[in-house]
């Protein structure tokens, strides 16, 4: 068999899909939570970037990867609350506030990077830590599955657990119900005594925490340092994954997995002499096709005409 095809049908390729999916999945879950509460969080990209840097700096100065992780998550929460403050308290347009935060993150992280590492490109001079890879007992001994799922970064497992946790939170807890009500009809929620602002603040904080985990995965799991604008649009891809997953945690999981799959495929297929741009296009074409098919089905079932 062609060595490349052999590589694609290997367990290490499957493992690579999960790695690629992890940061997108975290951010997509963050997008789902914010969206269901009625706030479009386009600041995910900036949140990830700020958390990625915060994690690196905190872990370098404390010597602990976990403290770095917690600091990164905390940074995500803070950015979420800042967005909430602008949007909910000061009534800024949430899209504009999100764009402002993304721009601030893009250049502000370079500023902080320079302050911490005396370098405007990469944090390689900081002795930052990496989140550990763990082996799952039992699972790692199963053939094939063991090679795929048996040994991954702890954050990859956490992202899979997060799908279940967020699902249970949104659909099986009373707060989750309130959150969805606020998103569906804030006036109705207000009339029965639910504080719309409070719920949305909490939703943005959770959204920030999740995006933060995605950011930390990039700088402390995927690679072992921060480099400027290293999120490279993953926060926006996460928004697409949220839309593709119909704003549902499980849907977002499968959508993220699809993006992860096409991205990993493009990484492996590069050397098959298919032009890079073409392969790069696959995830977006898939999104368009799936969205078209999905809305086509909705049109047929007449759901749009009822609205």
């Amino acid at each position: 068999m062609h060595p490349l095809l052999k590589a694609i049908f290997s367990a290490s390729f499957a493992a690579s899909i999960l790695r690629v999916t992890t940061p997108i999945l975290f951010a997509a879950l963050g997008a789902v939570v914010a969206d269901l509460s009625g706030v479009v969080n386009i600041a995910l990209e900036g949140m990830m970037l700020i958390s990625a840097l915060t994690g690196v700096i905190a872990s370098a100065f404390t010597g602990s990867a976990w403290i770095g992780f917690l600091a990164g998550v905390a940074a995500g929460i803070v950015v979420g609350l800042v967005l909430g403050y602008f949007h909910l308290k000061l009534r800024t347009n949430v899209i504009l506030a999100g764009i402002a935060l993304n721009l601030l993150a893009s250049q502000g992280t370079v500023f902080l990077l320079y302050a911490a590492a005396h370098d405007k490109g990469v944090s390689s001079s900081l002795p930052s830590k990496v989140m550990p890879e763990i082996q799952v007992p039992i699972l790692k001994d199963i053939p094939v599955i063991g090679a795929i799922l048996g040994k991954q970064n702890v954050l990859t497992y956490l992202s899979l657990i997060a799908v279940a946790v967020i699902y249970l939170f949104l659909y099986k807890t009373s707060f989750g119900l309130r959150l969805r009500v606020v998103g569906e009809n804030p006036d109705a929620a207000d009339s029965v005594g639910i504080s719309v602002h409070k719920v949305r603040f909490i939703a943005l904080a959770i959204s920030g925490a999740l995006a933060g985990m995605g950011g930390v995965h990039l700088s402390m799991g995927y690679v072992s340092w921060f480099s400027r604008n290293m999120t490279s649009g993953r926060g926006f891809i996460a928004l697409a994954a949220k839309a593709l997953g119909r704003t549902h945690p499980v849907g977002a999981f499968f959508a993220s997995l699809l993006f992860g799959f096409t991205d990993a495929l493009s990484n492996y297929m590069q050397s098959l002499r298919v032009p890079g741009e073409f392969i790069q296009m696959i995830p977006y074409v898939v999104t368009l096709v799936v969205l078209a098919v999905y809305s086509g089905r909705q049109l047929k079932s007449g759901r749009f005409s009822n609205e």
Binding site: Q107, G121, S232
Partner: protein, 373 residues
Amino acid sequence: MNKKLIGVMLVAALLVSAMLVGCGPEEPEPQNGEGQESKYKAVLLLAGNLGDMSFLDSANRGMQMIKEELGWEIKVIEMGTDPSNWEPTLTDVSSQDWDLIITGTFNMQTQIEEVAPKFPEKNYVLFDVSVDYEKGDYSNVYSILYRQNEGSYLAGALAAMVTGSDLPRANEQKLIGFLGGMDAPVINDFLVGYIEGAKTVDPEVKVVVSYVESYSDPAKGKEMCLAQYDMGVDIGFNVAGGSGLGQLDAAKERGLYAIGVDSDQAMLFKDSDPEKAELVLTSMLKRVDNSLLRAAKLCQEGKLEFGKAESLGLKEDAVGLAINEFYERNVPEEMRAELEEIAEKVKSGEIQVPSAFELGPDAVKELRDSVAP
């Protein structure tokens, strides 16, 4: 009211932090020439910020060399990443008193083409790109191009020697990797040199080529290199800016070799991650610093030929491999001697390294396919 105040302050804080990061050009101090008349003066305009670990940092080093070795008065202006600032800054600086106005990278080509003819009495040096001399009167612009293909030729030769050697981490397969930023002529110029260099050492070597299609996505760069290493590649060359740094993490994870580019990538990790630095055998450098020093020296002697583009290579020390402790420790003596020999042959013109710019895209594709595994 109080909330409004906080809001205003937050906005102000945002604005100030955005400004601190440097979108606005610095105002050069007025030049009143108090006893400084005899000093040559050069200014460097950077389309971006320092810390790119690459051309801009190297250009900055060149300015320091000009100051230290030639005693010039220098100034470095970081123009930031907002392109709308670049042309006004260039115009401002052009109306001031400078002997040489230096700028570079393809970002500045159109700006120089626009501004230079308006200030015919000023002299410009443009590095890493050339103005289109047929488009107008650019008799005051000296363009420096780098023969990255020559430097990459050495990188390719080294990679082929390593993959065919019995170095501890080299495997049986004669497979080497290349990680490019984009499928663009300037990146392919590195690739062509790399392939040709590998072929002179061992015609049977195969080259796996991947393009990240981004210069700032190290995670994707790492993923692509893991895929290459898993195919049997035991040494790779990254030419992808920030994305390329991902290769070093992949190399560490698989315990295989890497070759850096633009900056000495082993030195980046020397202190924080020595294990990784050991795997970066060398880096292919465009010595913007050397080329600027050379230009300033020639300018001082009145020998700098404005109005044309010059491409500088190994002979002018404008490209080359990074010779550092890791290179000396991890690349065996005889390989280093052989590389030295090859470099001499390129310098003397005995070996002519083909260039992607001369070959054109179709020939590049053909060459790439001819060495595909």
